[in-house]
C-alpha cells in the first residue's frame, strides 16, 4: 500500500511540471510588456529596460522558465506587479478561504445529494423519485453565478436573512456554499441513485432480506457501503470542478479567495499571480484526486487486496529467482 502511495506521489511530479510549462507558456506569449505595465505610461525607456533586466524579462523563454521553476520549488512565485508583494504571500493569504469554501460546499452537496439519491433509488419511479430526478437535471442546468445572484436577491436583499457579500463567518458561508452545493448535489444525487440501483439488485442484498434483516439495515449496512465507491470518485471530481466554479461564485459574492485574486490579476495583467493561482489550484486538484484514490482503496477491500496479491506475486517470483 505504501508503495502505491509513493508511486502515485511520484507520478504527480511530471504532471505538475507539465502544468507549470503550459501556464508559463500561455502567460509568456501574451502581448504586452509587464515592465511597462508596472511602471505606467510615463516611465522612461531606460527605467523600463532596467526593470526588465531586474525581473529577468530580457532573458530567453527557456531561461525564464527555468528561473521560475527554481523559484517555485523554493516557494518563491515571483513578485506581484501591482502590490510589489511576493506572490506566494498573497496566494497563501487567500488559499484558506477558498479551501474552506470548497469544503463547506462539498459538505452541503453531500448532505443534500447522498440522502436524496438513496431515497430515489429505494423508491424507484415513485413520486419522490420523479421529483428528485427532475430537480437533479434542473440543478445541473442552473448557471451557478445566476443562482448566486438570485439567492442573494431573495435572502439578503429582500428577506435580509444572510449578508450578501464577504466570507467572515458561518452566516456568510450559507449563500455561497448553497450556490455551489446545488450543482454539485445534483451530480452526487444522480451518481448515488444509479449506483444504489445497481447494488440493491445484487444477490447479497436478497440474501440479507431473506435472513430477515430489517430494510433500514439492509440499505445502510449492506447496500450503502458498496454503492458509495463510485460516489466517492464523483465527489473527488466535483471537488476539482467546484474549485473552477468557485472562481465565478467568489466574484458574485465578493469572497476574498483565490478565484477573486486571479480574476482581478487577469484584468490588471498581473501574470505572476495568475500563474501562481493556476498552479496552486492544479496542485490542490491533483492532491484531492490522490486522496480520493487512497480513500477508494481504503473502502474497497477488492482494490486493497490487489496490491497485496501483487506484492505476494513479486515476492514469490523473487524467491524463485533465488
Amino acid at each position: 500500500m505504501s508503495r502505491y502511495i509513493l508511486k502515485r506521489i511520484f507520478h504527480m511530479i511530471p504532471v505538475m511540471f507539465g502544468v507549470s510549462l503550459i501556464i508559463f507558456t500561455l502567460m509568456f506569449f501574451i502581448p504586452g510588456d509587464p515592465a511597462r505595465q508596472i511602471l505606467g505610461d510615463k516611465a522612461t525607456e531606460a527605467s523600463i529596460s532596467e526593470l526588465r533586466a531586474e525581473l529577468g524579462l530580457d532573458k530567453p523563454f527557456v531561461v525564464q522558465y527555468v528561473n521560475y521553476i527554481e523559484g517555485v520549488l523554493t516557494g518563491d512565485f515571483g513578485i506581484s506587479y501591482t502590490t510589489k508583494q511576493p506572490v506566494s504571500a498573497e496566494l497563501f493569504a487567500r488559499f484558506p478561504t477558498t479551501l474552506l469554501f470548497a469544503i463547506i460546499s462539498i459538505l452541503v452537496a453531500c448532505i443534500i445529494g447522498i440522502p436524496l439519491g438513496i431515497i430515489s433509488a429505494t423508491r424507484q419511479y415513485s413520486f419522490i423519485d420523479n421529483i428528485s430526478t427532475t430537480l437533479t437535471l434542473l440543478g445541473m442546468s442552473i448557471p451557478s453565478f445566476w443562482l448566486g445572484l438570485m439567492l442573494m436577491l431573495l435572502f439578503s436583499l429582500h428577506l435580509g436573512w444572510f449578508p450578501a457579500t464577504g466570507f467572515y463567518g458561518p452566516k456568510y458561508w450559507v449563500l455561497p456554499s448553497v450556490t455551489i452545493g446545488v450543482t454539485s448535489a445534483a451530480f452526487i444525487t444522480r451518481m448515488t441513485r444509479s449506483s444504489m440501483l445497481e447494488v440493491i439488485r445484487q444477490d447479497y442484498i436478497r440474501t440479507a432480506r431473506s435472513k430477515g434483516q430489517t430494510e433500514f439495515k439492509i440499505i445502510t449496512k449492506h447496500a450503502l457501503k458498496n454503492a458509495m465507491i463510485p460516489v466517492v470518485t464523483t465527489i473527488g471530481l466535483i471537488f476539482g470542478a467546484s474549485l473552477g466554479g468557485q472562481i465565478i461564485t467568489e466574484q458574485v459574492f465578493s469572497i476574498p479567495g483565490l478565484g477573486k485574486l486571479m480574476i482581478d490579476a487577469i484584468s490588471q495583467r498581473n501574470y505572476p499571480v495568475v500563474e501562481g493561482g493556476v498552479l496552486l489550484i492544479a496542485f490542490s486538484f491533483t492532491v484531492i484526486n490522490l486522496l480520493v484514490d487512497l480513500i477508494y482503496a481504503y473502502i474497497d477491500p477488492r482494490i486493497k487486496s490487489q496490491f497485496v496479491i501483487e506484492k505476494k506475486k513479486k515476492e514469490s517470483t523473487a524467491l524463485k529467482g533465488m
Binding site: 511530471p14 504532471v15 505538475m16 507539465g18 502544468v19 503550459i22 501556464i23 500561455l26 502567460m27 506569449f29 501574451i30 437535471l137 434542473l138 445541473m140 442546468s141 442552473i142 448557471p143 451557478s144 453565478f145 445566476w146 443562482l147 445572484l149 438570485m150 442573494m152 436577491l153 436583499l157 444522480r190 441513485r193 444509479s194 440501483l197 445497481e198 476539482g240 470542478a241 474549485l243 473552477g244 466554479g245 472562481i247 465565478i248 466574484q251 486571479m262 480574476i263 487577469i266 484584468s267 495568475v274 493556476v278 489550484i281 492544479a282 486538484f285 491533483t286
Partner: protein
C-alpha cells in the same frame, strides 16, 4: 399452399420493414418523454436563433433612452435594461451567440480530442503514452480554470472564447474516443481492411470512427451544454464575449449592478441560459440511452 403464401407474405412483410440502426435509435429515443421535451426545447431555440429578426420585436442594440430600466410590460415583454434596450429582443438575438459558441466549442473539442484520442488508441505504445501523459497534464487543471487561463492569454472576444472553451474540453473527448477506439481496433473487420491494403489513415477514418460514433455523439451533445455554460461564465466575469454583443452571460454581468431595483435584468438572461442547458442535457441523456441501450442511467 396457403401456408407457403402466408410465410412468403410474412417474409415479404419482414423485408419491407427493413430497418436501419438509425430507426432503432429513433424508436428508443421516442419512448423517452423527457428526451422529447429536450428535443422540443432545443428545436425551439434553434428556430428562435434562425428567425431572430422576425421573432424579436426590436433590434438588439436599439437604445431607447426615454424608457430605460422599465419593468416587464406588454410593450417590453422582459422589460428594458439601463440603456433602454429591449431585453426580450436581446435574449432572442443572444440565442444565436450562445448556440454558435456552444456548437463551435464542442466541435473544436470533438475534433482535436477525437483526433488525439484515436491516434493514441490506434497506435498504442509510445505514441499513446506521450499523448495520454499530455492529456493527464491538461486534466490536472480544472476545465474552467484552464479555459480562463487560455482566454486570459488570447484576450477576450467571441473567437477566443470558443477556442478557450473548446481546448479546455479536449481531454474528456480524447479519453472517451481513445476508450472506444481500443475496443474497436481489435475486431476482425479492421484486420480485413488492413489485409485489403488499407492504410492507417483510411482505417481510422473509414472503419474506426464510424464505429466509435455513439459515445462521441453523446459526449458532444452534453458537451454543447457545458460549453454554453462555460462561455456564459467567462462572459460573466468579463473575460469572454464583451458587452454590446447580446451574450446572455455578459447581459447578466451588466445587469448585476441594478439587481436591487431591477431584478428582471438579471432574471431573464439567467432563465434563458438555464432552459438552454436543461434542453440540451435532456437531449443528451436521451441520446445516450437511445444509442446505447445497455448503459443504465
Amino acid at each position: 399452399m396457403k401456408i407457403v403464401e402466408k410465410t412468403t407474405k410474412l417474409a415479404l412483410n419482414f423485408n419491407t420493414k427493413k430497418t436501419g440502426q438509425g430507426y432503432d435509435v429513433w424508436m428508443r429515443f421516442k419512448k423517452n418523454r423527457l428526451a422529447l421535451v429536450g428535443m422540443f426545447i432545443v428545436g425551439l431555440l434553434l428556430l428562435m436563433a434562425v428567425l431572430a429578426p422576425v421573432v424579436a420585436p426590436y433590434k438588439f442594440d436599439l437604445q431607447d433612452l426615454l424608457s430605460t430600466s422599465q419593468k416587464p410590460s406588454l410593450k417590453h415583454l422582459f422589460g428594458t435594461d439601463n440603456l433602454g434596450r429591449d431585453i426580450f429582443s436581446r435574449i432572442v438575438y443572444g440565442s444565436r451567440i450562445s448556440l454558435f459558441v456552444g456548437f463551435v466549442a464542442a466541435a473544436i473539442g470533438t475534433l482535436v480530442g477525437g483526433a488525439l484520442g484515436s491516434i493514441a488508441g490506434y497506435y498504442g505504445d509510445k505514441i499513446d503514452t506521450i499523448i495520454m501523459r499530455a492529456i493527464d497534464i491538461m486534466m490536472a487543471i480544472p476545465a474552467m480554470v484552464l479555459a480562463i487561463a487560455i482566454c486570459a492569454a488570447l484576450g477576450p472576444g467571441l473567437l477566443n472564447t470558443m477556442i478557450a472553451v473548446g481546448i479546455s474540453t479536449v481531454p474528456r473527448y480524447a479519453r472517451v474516443v481513445r476508450g472506444a477506439v481500443l475496443t474497436v481496433k481489435e475486431q476482425e473487420f479492421i484486420e480485413a481492411s488492413r489485409a485489403c491494403g488499407g492504410n492507417d489513415f483510411h482505417i481510422i477514418l473509414k472503419h474506426i470512427t464510424p464505429n466509435c460514433l455513439a459515445p462521441i455523439i453523446v459526449q458532444a451533445s452534453l458537451g454543447v451544454a457545458d460549453a454554453i455554460l462555460a462561455a456564459a461564465s467567462m462572459s460573466f466575469i468579463g473575460l469572454g464575449i464583451q458587452p454590446p454583443v447580446p451574450e446572455w452571460g455578459a447581459m447578466l454581468s451588466a445587469g448585476r449592478g441594478y439587481i436591487r431595483d431591477n431584478p428582471h435584468m438579471v432574471l431573464f438572461p439567467g432563465l434563458a441560459i438555464m432552459m438552454t442547458i436543461y434542453g440540451l442535457n435532456l437531449l443528451g441523456d436521451g441520446l445516450r440511452d437511445a444509442l446505447d441501450p445497455k448503459l443504465k442511467r
